[in-house]
Symmetry: D2
Subunit: 134 residues, 4 copies
Amino acid sequence: MNQLLKFFSKEDYFARHCGIELLDAGPGWAKAQMPIQDFHLNGAKTVHGGAIFSLADFTFAVAANSSGRLALAINATTQFISSARQGVLYATAEELSAKRQLGNYQVKITDDQRNLIAMFQGTAFRKDEVLFDH
Amino acid sequence: MNQLLKFFSKEDYFARHCGIELLDAGPGWAKAQMPIQDFHLNGAKTVHGGAIFSLADFTFAVAANSSGRLALAINATTQFISSARQGVLYATAEELSAKRQLGNYQVKITDDQRNLIAMFQGTAFRKDEVLFDH
Amino acid sequence: MNQLLKFFSKEDYFARHCGIELLDAGPGWAKAQMPIQDFHLNGAKTVHGGAIFSLADFTFAVAANSSGRLALAINATTQFISSARQGVLYATAEELSAKRQLGNYQVKITDDQRNLIAMFQGTAFRKDEVLFDH
Amino acid sequence: MNQLLKFFSKEDYFARHCGIELLDAGPGWAKAQMPIQDFHLNGAKTVHGGAIFSLADFTFAVAANSSGRLALAINATTQFISSARQGVLYATAEELSAKRQLGNYQVKITDDQRNLIAMFQGTAFRKDEVLFDH
């Protein structure tokens, strides 16, 4: 899993641009965090849906690619439940199903008071290419 | 609409952080663009789903808030259709329905070759507060 | 909860038409089953997505209406994970969040071998009217 | 297209059970209707979300299978916009994208007053098997 962590921490430029940090990952799961900064805010001065989604989508991608085979997101749904303004957001991705080509994942986004901020469901399509060599 | 454009161009910090530019907007619709930069890329070196979503979500927010009453996203679904690597991404949001408290919107994301990159559907919940004064 | 069970078992004509049976319910949750019959099948002779959705949507509705205040589905997403051909399908709905007007729910659909058939996420909008008197 | 129409009208038992009628179809599109009957109603005496979804999902399936290769729904999202109580519901499915294995579709549900009742987005996964012989 070391290589997975290294790959996503270094090669995912957008996650870095958003201040997203990969905490841990294993077969079919991943955890990440995003300390809230001013650039995450929208016009209402709460964390932008795009920032919340990016945290969820990144964590989903790590979980979906944990086998090393390239998996692409084909579909994602987010329920935005509570607003967040400060502190740290956490994402936990888990695998609901994994077939040869399709995988389904769920990501829970919480704040540091354990409030549920958003729920994310994603479907990934696995290609034959490898994302990185083991 | 001038004030809507000014408000979202200035006050949405995350959109600015992502290099998203509001092009135009009117009652129930909006258009925006995002010139692809290196920081938009994921590990596979295509535009990150989070960046595509952020462009769509921003454009949806402008359309949903075009009346000046604060509208929050409660739900969003994205179908990721084609990868994008370079050039400019465009988003066009249109209103499917607008009731007193709920509104439904659709956003089409295309690249500068007119390829369909993603389709986004969002539901907004309107509050009684105003987002900005007219 | 007795009244909730009676109301939904009797008054939801479509659920009855689909052979859906409410098993149990409480504040924010519900369980139902659907013994697979020939009329549930699609052209590929597996259970129709519409039948699976109807089972999930019914169970979601019972959970969302468990307080007695009328709640309407405004959004639902389903990930279809495995096909089902025979036996009994089970649905379990749980509440992810409940605010004054909006509630988020998740429904898991399994078969009698405990295979995960589908995952459903729904958002409900609560009206001031009551669905039935306590 | 004749065979497609015949196949889905005859072999989709659940669509028949729901009173869904296929009107027309071609490469990547389909139209169907569902005259509202008492058995379509939910506890609030409006058309059940499951019945609306079934109409949309059926029309999506016809459009996605119009090439004759077996396509399965892997994901579907529905925005429920207005309630329906009587008359006829119409569904129109169109293809947003079609790749070797994945296709994206959108279905619009309207009533006979042209009110928008629901919007449906579905993703289909194409198998190598044929659904029926040409």
